[in-house]
């Protein structure tokens, strides 16, 4: 299966709910290893959902592709984190790391007009998907987390 282009962002309404839940997971996990199992199934089994991907851009198009991904990642419900990074060892590569409230919210994001537009604009700039890993985030600390 060919991985899809996948640019998300932060939804405005669910954001605070998401943060509370994320911190609840992190808190449960940090007490002891045996408590992580319950953190993984908080909210009636709706696990968080993560993606780690490496995309190779068409020669010379890396920065244009990054801009499209960043433009398409604003106000997406259920997205807890989305980071675009370059790779010092590969001038055409981008690494995308994502954290979603659950897999359903990620799936739903692919239908949003902003994401559809980013997919259409970004696809011609992509030479290939070199890595794509689905993960289950269980806790941690967030970019720009202003208070605990």
């Amino acid at each position: 299966m060919e991985p899809e282009l996948d640019p998300p962002g932060l939804g405005r309404a669910p954001r605070l709910v998401s943060r509370r839940r994320f911190l609840a997971c992190a808190g449960a996990a940090s007490f002891a290893g045996r408590e992580i199992a319950s953190a993984l199934t908080l909210d009636h089994g709706d696990k968080m959902y993560g993606l780690i991907g490496k995309i190779t851009a068409v020669e010379g198009q890396r920065d244009a592709l990054a801009a499209i991904l960043l433009e398409g990642t604003v106000d997406m419900p259920g997205c807890l984190g989305y980071v675009v990074a370059t790779d010092p060892s590969d001038p055409n590569a981008l690494w995308i790391t994502e954290v979603w409230e659950d897999q359903a919210s990620h799936q739903a994001s692919l239908e949003l007009p902003s994401v559809q537009e980013a997919i259409a604009k970004g696809r011609p700039l992509i030479a290939g998907f070199d890595q794509r890993v689905e993960t289950t985030p269980i806790g941690g600390h967030g970019l720009g987390l202003a208070s605990k």
Copy 2:
């Protein structure tokens, strides 16, 4: 070179500065591809610094290792993001994704007592480091970002 165990967190004092800077980068990058080059060298060339790593735990010790990593990741200056995730395809694996204000802040974190303690406690539970990628984050959205 063997990668080090690497558990960081959010520093209290630099947090707001970090967020402003992170958003400045994201904003610059989102206007157009050509502006990413300048976003990469904001603040006199101090690029953000990212790590993506896969750690394999000793059989049966994944959750205990995750708990140690999460415990050791609180209040670390310069850390903008640190997420611990399991891997549905590998019961012994953990994926760690990190975003730092710059490489120096990551390096400095390794000397903190909380990190030293996590390294000492976690090392016996680690079977190997399967992947470690250094990145240069250029923008995106953060876990638990309460406002823009």
